[in-house]
Subunit: 184 residues, 2 copies
Amino acid sequence: MPHIQLPDDVPGIRSLVMYRPDTGKPLYDLAQVLLRGDSPLSTAERELIATYVSARNHCNFCTQSHEAAARALFGDEREVVDFVLNEYETAPVSDKMKALLTIAGRVQTDARTVSDADVTRAREHGATDRDIHDTVLIAATFCMFNRYVDGLATLSPTDSAVYEPMGERLAQQGYALPNPAPQL
Amino acid sequence: MPHIQLPDDVPGIRSLVMYRPDTGKPLYDLAQVLLRGDSPLSTAERELIATYVSARNHCNFCTQSHEAAARALFGDEREVVDFVLNEYETAPVSDKMKALLTIAGRVQTDARTVSDADVTRAREHGATDRDIHDTVLIAATFCMFNRYVDGLATLSPTDSAVYEPMGERLAQQGYALPNPAPQL
């Protein structure tokens, strides 16, 4: 049961932006520009970072929904998502991506621990300022979304089949506010 | 030294929104609507929650800047900020505010630990759904801002005098993007 009165049968973040659309709008605007806007990271890579951070925060709704989006975006290479969720250092992703996932993990735990050595490693594998910036902001943003969704105990289905159409929609349409967004 | 090339001599979040204004805009829009828009919580109370969470995350820039804003907004009652930063259960704030600070602390640590008992306690002291919602979203939002600012090692002055004019500006003008925002 959610801690506050939210629209029935609407899961996770969607129930919250329907509850308060005026805060929902900048939250969805942020997700759209950060995960779908201009970046040296592919949309699939950005969804992978979002999934990885959400899994570390044990946020079922965000992990499953962004995992589904990442699988849809990776297409034939979707097995990479399983690898990253288990042990990313052996995953079939670039060394740059591994270094960026290390930075994302540090941001999730305690952002002050991102070290010069972490950043140097990423740069040695080709990361630019924008790769590093976008990784840190994606990780920080999901530390927010995960807490918002779980702190209010929103509806969070456990069945992964529920998330498949959600992942397809996020992959194809990105982050558009649920519309209409009724005021409760 | 910041981990990426940011505008010289610009501290904290301001250097980051100047670096990437397209993500800066929804971030400032969120801060403005959440901390200055409609809420059952006063602007001073909202800045207090932001300060409390930032202190728990050991984010010097966010703690000092929002502490300064909270002091400016509390005016003659500014000593409440010291109490809250030290031991809020004995602070001269309402029982409702103490219960909401407990919830904010749980969101900062692990949002899944916000319990029915925490929410019941807040309701018994008069908290509404919107009080609870806004508290959780403010706490979650500062878990993001703190990580963004510290994960990129932005400039973070230690001298509290630097933050006084910043706090006055935040108290009086709210969250407006630094303008002009040069593209680097």
